[in-house]
């Protein structure tokens, strides 16, 4: 995935598209956009930094997973097999990008923060009590040659989840939800190993950087059109829960 910081408006449409497509509960941001400020008035600068899972080629989360639940597919996507995840949270500790979210609560409890009252009888008459009411059935599908349960599924209590690049969409030949919704096409998805893919074409000849490249994780999320945030960068406009920040 390429992310063009010369285009990003920091609007967080990608965050919301992800939340709807993948049915994540409150305080869980598989895709998150930092709004950052640096400098001193009036020499102030503001920047935006979308941060999905970096889908590293050398993923520290995979190395520490004791059950093989976290794995790196041949196509480059790093996924969690929810049937194998035991919720030890080693991946969460190992990842330097803060993209892992542990499900502390059952989905119906986690979604309660969204005040959607799925058991409301008038609503249940329409939705069958689904959690959330816009429940995406594709998340229950099995993916890959091994047919593993790697999309969001039911957001079970006690597992760790993160961005899947919308594997349930990618397998159908669709781009991830964040990419599709971006109003300014700041996100470009595709096969980095194919020199003719849209993402390779987009990146050609442009200055690039990867987040925390010095750690040797070799992310497959490549940023263009900006510079990495400096240690002076301050996050502004954090969400109400502060979770996006806490995981950063």
């Amino acid at each position: 995935m390429a992310i063009d910081l010369d285009r990003c408006q920091g609007c967080r449409a990608c965050v919301e598209a992800c939340k709807i497509e993948n049915n994540t509960p409150s305080a869980v941001f598989w895709m998150y956009v930092f709004r950052l400020e640096e400098g001193t008035y009036p020499d102030t600068s503001i920047s935006f930094l979308p941060r999905p899972c970096q889908h590293c080629h050398n993923p520290p989360c995979v190395k520490v997973c004791p059950t093989g639940a976290r794995f790196h597919r041949d196509d480059g996507i790093v996924l969690t097999d929810f049937d194998r995840c035991i919720g030890c949270r080693y991946c969460e500790v190992a990842c330097p990008y803060g993209v892992n979210f542990f499900n502390w609560r059952k989905p119906e409890q986690a979604f309660a923060d969204y005040q959607l009252k799925m058991d409301d009888p008038d609503l249940a008459a329409v939705t069958g009590g689904l959690i959330p009411p816009y429940r995406n059935p594709d998340l229950d599908e099995l993916q890959g040659d091994e047919q593993r349960r790697t999309a969001g599924s039911a957001h079970y209590k006690g597992v760790v989840e993160k961005c899947t690049f919308c594997v349930q969409r990618v397998e159908k030949g669709l781009d991830p939800a964040c990419v599709v919704t971006c109003p300014v096409e700041a996100l470009v998805f595709g096969d980095l190993e194919d020199p003719n893919s849209p993402v390779s074409t987009y990146l050609r000849g442009r200055d690039q950087f990867k987040l925390l490249e010095e750690l040797g994780t070799d992310p497959s999320v490549i940023y263009v059109g900006g510079t990495p945030p400096t240690p002076d960068a301050r996050e502004i406009e954090r969400p109400m829960t502060g979770v996006g920040n806490a995981n950063a």
Binding site: Q9, E21, Y41, P133, Y134, P137, V180, P239
Partner: protein
Amino acid sequence: MVEISRRTFIKATAATGTTLAASKVLFETVDSVAQAEALTLAPTEDRVFTTCWIGKQDCGMSARRIDGRVVKFDGVDDHPRNRGTLCPKGQAQIASIYDPHRVKTPLVRTNAKGVPGEWRRASWDEALELVAAKYREVAADDPKLVLWQKGRSKAKSFYDKAFVKAIGATKLGHGAYCSDTGYRAIEYTVGLHGVLHPDLLNAKYVLSWGWNITNAGGNKFCWLTWPQQMVQAREQNGLKIVQIDPRLRPAGPFADEWVPIRPAGDLALALALCHELIRQGFLDRPYLTTYTNAPYLVGEDGLFLRETVGEGDEAEEVPLVWDEATRRAVPVTEATSPALEGEYTVGGQTAKTAFELFTEHVADATPEWAADKCDVAPDTIRRIATEYGTNARIGATTVVDGVEVPYRPVGIMAYHMAQQELGFPALRAMAIIPMLVGAWGAVGGQLADFTWKIHKNYAKFEDLKVEEPPYDFVLNKSKFFPINTGFPGIVARVMQDPAKYGVEKLPRMVILHMVNPVTSFASQADFLASYEKFEFVAVISPWMSETADLFADVVLPSATIEKYEGPLSAGDGYIDAKALRMPPMDPLFESRGEIDIYLDLTEKMGKLTGEGGYIEHLNKELKLAGTEFELPDGSRPDVRDIFDRWAKMEGLSGIDFFEQNGVWVKGPISPTKRYGYVTDPPFGGAVHRLYGESLLKAQRLQKEMGADEVYWRDYTPFPTWRTPTMEASPPEYDLYLISYKLVEHKQSRTSMVPLLTELSGHQRVEMNPATARRLGLKEGDEVTVESHHALTGETRRVKTVVRLTEGIRPDVVGMPHHFGMWTHPANKDAGPTPNTLYFTDEGYVGMTADAVFHVKVRVMKGGGAA
């Protein structure tokens, strides 16, 4: 996109074995066992087209449905306005469909008003009859005493205009809180119905004047289309953006230069830019002499010299100009070479051209003079004038689609910043900047609408009506506001003291359509006081608004996106298109679409059919009248059929065209419709008003009728600086409060979406760290913000917390809107609205009866001193 029919999709998916545990029948009447069994086998998937309901710009959406249940909205690729994308609000609005906290059934109040409501569920029939009965009672007195008020208009307002006309009510909108000051200034100055936007795709240099680029719309759009065009213009044309704003956050990384202007200094900056453009010789003389009143001769009385041309009924008083060819004053219609500058003796009196007077008017408006008022350095002002003037390429032309058009790739984007005390003169002055360089209607230059359509107000404003009291309660044609936007804040003042305003009859009932004055409008105190005076309040809304909670007698639940609305403009300013909002599901609970509600209401009121009835007005407003597609009078039409007839009248197959294609792309907007220079006639035939003669005439009438200075002082022929009222607050009120929009929100409906309130967080007062240090405050501190009314001494307070940012002037604090609500769990306890702090009476209202979002405040730690 092809809709997969239920039956064929079942066949296709049954074999895959993919099942959803909770798969069930939705909205379908199961009329056969066989069908019921088939439907439980597998979820059926389809897509239906609709249009975003949550924002203003009506982006095209496709709803992905499982068993008729919407699971996701996506943008429509062919829709010019959003091109397959959606903003965070567009994505998150799905939660509002399923919101169990919506008003589910009609409600009737069971307790006293003025305190949170207690309700009983009622049938639609009973609730409608209660509203209709009160209407009949009030209408028997005077139907104008029924007030109908709407918030952000969704879609062409044909159905509500028809409703208001059919029942004879008085109408108010929300524009006086939005940008209507700007609309009035541009209607007055160039005749277009809009504020200011550049021809963005062709612009090189844009003064982003309070344009909240990354959070809000500029002119006309609510957000997404402008950022798309801005990104394109930066990548393809090297567009440069100068952000003129007390805060940096609006432009963020897209500000090539940030000019942190002092709030309310805009008029001074604009006048100084005019001063500099004239001084530096950046003048498009052919444009100024041909298309503006700059060469008109102004006599010693401040009025144009005129001469009668023609005879009898054809006779017309035509302004004179100085014809350099014949060296005499001639009617402008006969001049071949009008002088732009100069002083002349005509008929024994001294006359100067309007341009000469303007040059004198801004002679003292030097950058140094303005710097004192707007706190922008004189050198910066001079440099921006030079950059603007140079980039304007005066004299250049270019060819667009085979048409040669002047090329002036400089523009101003300005919209909501118009809502300030001197907003009308400020926007007039800002409209004169492109006038000087001939950028109005040029390629890359200044626009205010997508086609060059002259608004009826242009002619109306030539002769401003100022009458003696008594006035209606909106104060139309009054000595107070000769130009009158229709300001709910002033109506709230009139209701508290009608005698002061020469008003004899006050509104007795109000029908509120998705509008929440108590929290969304300022001044909150005035709405709380005035709403107690309504005999009856009916609310049409999907949610229990705060206004409804305190004051409604009856609440009628309307649908969110699950309804028909339209026809909607779907163009992006370059491509013309139309679309409809169509229900992706049946309305949830017992809610109904607004058109259905108005059909129901007019039926109960006895105003549906017959002469002057709702159907007749629907036919007129949709231009179906007299065509073969006219709605037959006599019975209640089906709402889908109304749009089917409209689509057929437009030459389409019917509403099925939209159901199958999502959007009707009509094609590119011709340069001869878009650029004023090449429309027929040029600029729609409207002479651009550098000199506001009718403003001066209105002022004289106001004075004759004894209006106080506060009402007439800004009715001046040229935009004229004076110190804003708020500057007279005592020095301890040392900060300017400004308010702004967040990208997560649009009107109060987004505050009901928990996915969005999660992102926007709690209310805060943004403050520069230097200011916080001075006040002994730090990030997260609880504080009291206290506003002060410079004329009455009244103070108002809210409590909130400090958020520090280096992206704001040290003498300014900022608070976003979207807060202060209490009826919905998604926004309850999220902090106060800045509307509690604003004032909307004399000194804090624009000359055109418009809201002012500026006030001086102080910020005190904790609860503040007594």
